[in-house]
């Protein structure tokens, strides 16, 4: 399920091959098509993109990304698409062979193929693209075309809203140009503040969850959404479930 920031647009998947948008059937694939979720949506909900796996022959399937009902090129496999907040850029990883991955940005291949690759991240206006690659036992973070050597392969990468700051998540830590977080058992939704100077994320150690802002941790219940920064960077919000009650909590950030 996807929801626009203002709540006016909603999209979801049903029966593996049917995409609903604002409660109407928006796109229906072939009977054997399998749509992956979550669907990716621009901030205002005007652009919607999703991955489809489609049988080609009895022994072969192809993967493609559909954006606003328009099918992109088919590959051996691909990742879930990422839509920039402004809806102008769609990016995803794709491959023809399992050991040769690349990034596709608005239908065009970007960068050199790599043995391994993360899903891409985009700045809000889509102008900055970031992803990490693994090739010949070397790990690189590529941010806006600039290469940064890494000691380990990230699980995911993320950018500040304007793309000026980068970060990535390893098995147990969040790492930015400013340093490395403590280690946790699980890390959820790392996000830069609007000015790109701070990172917040939900983290689990054992059964205990904390809302991390830099090295400061605040105990929290297991989140069902977020954390997300307020536009002015002074607050963090997250969703929590207490019994049958769905709560939104807002924490002031000094």
């Amino acid at each position: 399920m996807s929801l626009s920031e203002n709540g006016e647009r909603v999209a979801f998947l049903a029966a593996l091959n049917t995409v609903y948008r604002d409660y109407e059937v928006y796109w229906r694939g072939g009977l054997a098509d399998q749509v992956s979720f979550p669907l990716s949506m621009s901030r205002d909900g005007s652009v919607l993109s999703w991955k489809v796996r489609r049988p080609l022959r009895a022994d072969e399937t192809r993967a493609l990304v559909v954006t606003d009902g328009v099918e992109g090129p088919a590959f051996g496999d691909c990742g879930l698409p990422v839509v920039s907040a402004d809806g102008r850029t769609v990016a995803y990883k794709a491959c023809e062979r399992e050991d040769s991955w690349f990034i596709v940005r608005n239908g065009r291949r970007v960068g050199a193929p790599a043995e391994g690759i993360t899903n891409p991240a985009l700045s809000d206006d889509g102008s900055v693209l970031a992803y990490a690659t693994e090739a010949a036992d070397r790990y690189r973070l590529i941010v806006g075309g600039r290469e940064i050597e890494l000691r380990e392969m990230p699980r995911s990468v993320f950018l500040s809203p304007n793309g000026s700051a980068w970060g990535y998540v390893t098995q147990s830590s969040v790492i930015t140009a400013r340093g490395r977080s403590e280690e946790f058992d699980e890390i959820v939704n790392p996000a830069f503040s609007p000015d790109g100077k701070r990172v917040a994320f939900a983290a689990r150690r054992g059964k205990e969850w904390t809302l991390q802002v830099g090295r400061t941790g605040l105990r929290m219940p297991a989140p069902i959404a977020g954390p997300v920064w307020s536009r002015d960077g002074t607050q963090l919000g997250y969703g929590a479930l207490q019994g049958r009650e769905i709560w939104w909590r807002v924490v002031g950030v000094p």
Binding site: L3, R219, I246, W247, W248, P254
Partner: protein
């Protein structure tokens, strides 16, 4: 539903052990006997959409309290 009336009311609270002040808002209540998944909030946290399950694999309901239009999918 009475508790839902609190949705517009921000309740001031205090986190454990002297940690910063927070506010919390009751946004919705799941119907009795059902569970939710895939929660999505609006940017301001005022509203939520989610998939509602009644425990049977092929009988699920998508509820968007925003539009107030529950929809049954088979």
């Amino acid at each position: 539903m009475r508790r839902l009336l609190l949705a517009s009311l921000l309740l001031a609270g205090c986190a454990t052990s002297g940690t910063p002040q927070f506010e919390e808002r009751l946004v919705d209540v799941l119907p009795e006997g059902k569970s939710g998944r895939y929660y999505r909030f609006t940017g301001d946290g005022q509203r939520v959409a989610y998939v509602l399950f009644d425990g049977r694999e092929r009988d699920r309901v998508v509820v968007n309290r925003i539009a107030g239009k529950p929809m049954e999918l088979i």
